[in-house]
Every structure is written in C-alpha cells, then in structure tokens.
Amino acid sequence: MATIQPIAENEQHPDVALVERVRAGDISAYDTLVRKYDRQVFRIAQHITQNREDAEDVMQDAFLKAYEKLDQFQGNSKFYTWLVRIAVNESLMRLRKRRTGKMVSIDEDVETEEGSVPRDLADWAPDPEQNYTQAELAEILRKTIQGLPQGFRVVFVLRDVEGLSTEETAETLGLSVPAVKSRLLRARLQLRERLTRYFRRKKGGEK
C-alpha cells in the first residue's frame, strides 16, 4: 500500500510545532489544534454516522483519543491526516454500537455496486444552484450524498470535500490507491447522476 509522502525536511508543517508544545505540557496549543480542525472532524463524523448526536460524541472522543495518543503520532504524516483517521475509526465504532453486533466497515455495500455506472446525460442549467434557497440546496446535497454507499461516500468526502490526497485517503481508510481511485470515480459519477435530477436544464421557458 502507498504511504503518505513525508513532508520535505526544510518545510515543517505549523501543526508540528503545536504538537511539540502539547507534548511539552502546553495544553493551550491543543486548544489551538482543536479549534483548527473541529469543523472538519464534525463534518466527517456526520457524513459517516449520519446522526447529529453520534457526530457530537465522535468529535469529543476523537479529540480526546488524539490527545491521549499524541506520543504515538510519528510526524511522518500530517497531524490532520492522523486525526482524520482516528475520527473515521471512531465514527465506524459508533455505527457498530448503533447497529448492535452488525459489522460495519467502509467496504459495506461497495461490492454490490461494482459494475455499471448509470449515465443520465442531460446537461445542467447554468448556475443550477440559483434555483434553490441555501436551505433547499443543503437539503438536496445532504439527501444526495446520503444515498451513496458508505464506502463511496467516505472516499468522496475525504478526497473531494476535505481535500486529502489520494494517497492520504488510502492510508486513512486502509485501502489501496487503486481502490480509492475506483471508488472516487464511482462516487463522483453517481453524485453527478443524482444531482442531475435537480439541476437539469429545463426545456423552453420552464423554470
């Protein structure tokens, strides 16, 4: 499996200094790290658990676990990537608890989705989001992404929404790079297909 590219020697990520300060006992530096990444952790937890209360618990547990395990953080990956990995694992654990006994993994549902990618080829209206209020649009986007199989959704969220590289996404999820690429393509195409329902260009004069 591919590993995360080490950070160039002369280019230290600002988080490294914060982590060092926390290790030296300066808890205010951890406060800074929490504030820097809490929104992302909360968002990832919501995407995986699809439950607000679970996401709140995951956010707390992930930051506490990261704090406890900070000595194990090697610094050969980014602190953020390392934190995301903890958040993903905590989210999956929370799902398992909710579905008592049923195994939950990021592989869920993916196998049955292999094969054809549906293709609705209607073009979209220019600036299609203008036809909806912010609240309506957020609801459409939530509903649409919730319909994706978990294994595709997590890859799309980490890679396209949270901005991890393909290699970082693979490392975080314990997948191979080709598996991430294959899921990302399917996720992107399926989301596009589903959004077409709302965003397609209407024929003559219709809104």
Partner: protein, 78 residues
C-alpha cells in the same frame, strides 16, 4: 478513444494529473462527444458544489460546548 476509455481517465483529467499526450487525446475525444463533455462539466460542478456548500454546519453554541468539554477532560488527563 471510446467513451469508456474517456471515463477511465475522467478523475485524472479533473485532478489535472494526466500526461500532455493523454490530455491531447482526451480533448480530441471531447471535440466529437457531447455526452462526455456534459459528463466532464457536470462532474466538475458536482465536486465544486460539495466543496463550496457547508451541509453539516457546526453551530457556534454547540462548538463552544463541545470544545469546553474536550479541553476540560484533557486538562484532567482524559
């Protein structure tokens, strides 16, 4: 190039990691294939729309409450 071959390169094209030669081949295909052009444009738009809209906001009140709880437990050594 067939549409299937084009689709196989779609992510690399969107992520801008294709070789110069591949880019030229993909552009050549796009010139004659409206379907793939629509797919490319709307897939790009899909990514952009998810990137630019916050669908799971963390409200300030909740954020402060969670933050306080985390820091209090960290101070106690978890």
């Amino acid at each position: 190039m067939t549409c299937t071959e084009f689709l196989a390169q779609l992510d690399d094209l969107i992520d801008d990691v294709v070789t110069t030669q591949m880019r030229a081949d993909l552009k050549e295909h796009l010139r004659g294939c409206e379907h793939c052009e629509v797919t490319l444009n709307t897939t790009r738009k899909t990514i952009e729309i998810y990137r630019s809209h916050e669908i799971y906001e963390l409200p300030t009140g909740l954020r402060e409450r969670l933050h306080k709880a985390i820091m209090e437990r960290c101070k106690k050594g978890c």
